[in-house]
């Protein structure tokens, strides 16, 4: 269940708009931030808030890259595998992340901290190879840099 305060603030937000559906992504992001991912329960709650059916919410939830319908780690790493990053060493960056985190692409570490996902071009081709962690960009990646990024995030967790 959503805390009352969060639910009320979403309701207020929705009440101020002509067409509640316009806020579908915002509501999904808010619920995802709260639950850690967009659970089935969250889909139902979003539907109720947006005056949509759960199916209609799921139809868009499953469409988008940054809506997670399965549990993910505290930090979601989206590593860019499009053409410029690919040319500048995506494979070795991905391998390095897999080794350091001891997971494969698409998996979450046992401590629940990191999920590793490939992603299409993130618009940082001038800093390739690049990745996003919780939508913050890290560019010009190399193994040493990845070490220090992961260590810092672990310390902050």
């Amino acid at each position: 269940m959503l805390p009352k305060e969060l639910r009320e603030s979403l309701k207020d937000h929705i009440a101020n708009i002509d067409h509640p559906r316009e806020l579908a992504v915002d509501v999904m992001f808010t619920l995802q931030d709260h639950y850690g991912y967009l659970s089935d329960e969250a889909v139902k709650e979003a539907a109720e808030l947006l005056e949509m059916t759960p199916l209609e919410v799921d139809e868009i939830a499953t469409f988008y890259t940054f809506v997670y319908r399965e549990p993910v780690g505290k930090y979601v790493i989206h590593v860019c595998d499009s053409v410029i990053c690919w040319m500048d060493g995506y494979e070795s960056i991905k391998d390095c992340l897999c080794t350091k985190l001891a997971i494969n692409v698409g998996e979450t570490t046992a401590d629940g901290l990191f999920t590793l996902l490939p992603v299409c071009c993130i618009g940082y081709c001038d800093m390739s190879p690049a990745m996003l962690i919780n939508r913050k960009v890290y560019g010009h990646l190399n193994p040493e840099k990845i070490d220090s990024i992961l260590e810092k995030l672990k310390a902050e967790a």
Binding site: F63, F66, V67, S128
Partner: protein
């Protein structure tokens, strides 16, 4: 060569330009002028006369688009700024938002006035969350300064702008898909008619253009259409262009240059030349959905017409440079993988065709190619043109460029039964 900086004139190395800095450079003067002296038709005429073509990839004349909203079209009308740039190699919208957000905001207001829009939306991809926050903050500042809201600068014109966050899919950059996304529907494209300028967001007339297109508009109003045309190096061109250069060059980055600047000059002078040990082999001139340009076209003028004549497109002006050590079969495989993943899956040619092509290319790259694959690739490429929207013809462009200019490289993979670059 140094060229006048128009769109990036207020860019700072480490922060965005403030409203005050934008004003000092002549910002919001164009808005004040049109509200005082121009009818909405005058604004449409000025923009048409300037020959401003859409900078998001499709190169549609911005003036014609504004004029396609009928005089008696219903209200409320929408003006939408597309900041969803997901074309691989492209990051100019990100740069513009972080350089001078009020230039974009003023462009949206002026274009909005040209079609009497009262609702403005900036549609932005989730990868640009910092940009979304900047825009929300600066829109607030613009509102407090009387540039947005009711009675803008004490005129009768009213417009407000909201930032709409997307959750990330390439297809959302397509106009009709973006309109569906804005309405909280699954963003499958729709085939016009009706055109968005007749029935767009919630069935209302909607004009949708790219960030860079909007950013040009205040300057056209301030300096006139002839000035805008004179910025270009080519006879038929107009304006400057932010070229995003990436790949095997010394200085990947963004460069605001006259439309029509030669590719060789962009690479050698502005992007610092090729990296040590790299020779120019090919580039994609305008993002992933354009055709490869081979070395024979290294001197081409980077403008819409010359690139169209060469069988490619200026697209978003994102120049991705490949060197002689890069396998273009593998590069095309990567690009097709991108499109196969990002296809919305709505229509058959795109949904089925792209994975099929990916499979054939994968086999060729991994030593399992057969000569009979060549006519199959040609045939499949043609089928993709019968898809529902422009996504599939764009997706197939690099492959068509590969077959047109680098057929020998593909055949070498097949005859050697391996990738010659490995």
């Amino acid at each position: 060569m140094k060229y006048p900086q128009i769109l990036l004139q207020n860019r700072k190395p480490d922060r965005i330009a403030t409203l005050e800095e934008y004003r000092q450079s002549g910002g919001y003067q164009a808005l004040a002028d049109i509200l005082e002296k121009y009818s909405y038709k005058d604004v449409q005429e000025e923009i048409l006369e300037s020959r401003l073509l859409g900078r998001g990839g499709a190169a549609f004349p911005a003036g014609t688009k504004l004029m396609s909203v009928a005089d008696d079209a219903s209200f409320p009308r929408y003006i939408v700024c597309n900041a969803d740039e997901m074309e691989p190699g492209t990051f100019k919208d990100r740069v513009l938002i972080h350089a001078d957000p009020h230039m974009i905001i003023e462009g949206i207001i002026i274009a909005g006035y040209a079609v009497t829009a009262e609702k403005g939306i900036i549609f932005i991809r989730p990868e640009y969350e910092s940009g979304a926050k900047i825009l929300e903050r600066e829109i607030d500042i613009a509102r407090q300064s009387g540039y947005l809201g009711k009675n803008i600068l004490d005129s009768d014109y009213a417009l407000d702008i909201v930032v709409h966050r997307s959750a990330g899919r390439y297809i959302c950059g397509e106009v009709t898909a973006q309109l569906s996304a804005l309405m909280g529907k699954r963003p499958n494209p729709k085939q016009p008619p009706p055109y968005p300028t007749e029935r767009g967001v919630w069935g209302m007339p909607t004009v949708l253009s790219n960030v860079e297109t909007f950013a040009c508009i205040p300057h056209i109003i301030n300096n006139g259409p002839d000035w805008f045309k004179s910025l270009a190096k080519t006879e038929t061109g107009a304006g400057t262009k932010i070229f995003c250069v990436s790949g095997k060059v010394k200085r990947p980055g963004f460069y605001e240059l006259p439309i029509g600047t030669r590719l060789s000059e962009i690479i050698e002078e502005h992007a610092g030349g090729m990296r040590a040990g790299s020779e120019f082999k090919a580039c994609l001139p305008g993002g992933a959905s354009t055709q490869f340009l081979p070395k024979e076209l290294y001197d081409i003028e980077m403008d819409f017409d010359p690139l169209r004549e060469a069988g490619s497109r200026l697209g978003t002006g994102a120049i991705m440079v490949f060197d002689h050590k890069t396998c273009l079969v593998a590069a095309t495989l990567n690009l097709i993988e991108f499109f196969a993943r990002e296809s919305c899956g709505w229509c058959t040619p795109c949904r089925e065709g792209l994975p099929y092509i990916r499979d054939i290319l994968w086999r060729i790259e991994n030593g399992e190619g057969e000569e009979e694959f060549m006519p199959m690739l040609e045939r499949m490429s043609k089928h993709l043109w019968s898809a529902y929207c422009a996504f599939a013809p764009g997706a197939i462009s690099p492959l068509q460029g590969l077959l047109a200019h680098f057929k020998d490289e593909v055949l070498e993979h097949i005859s050697q039964r391996k990738c010659p670059f490995k």
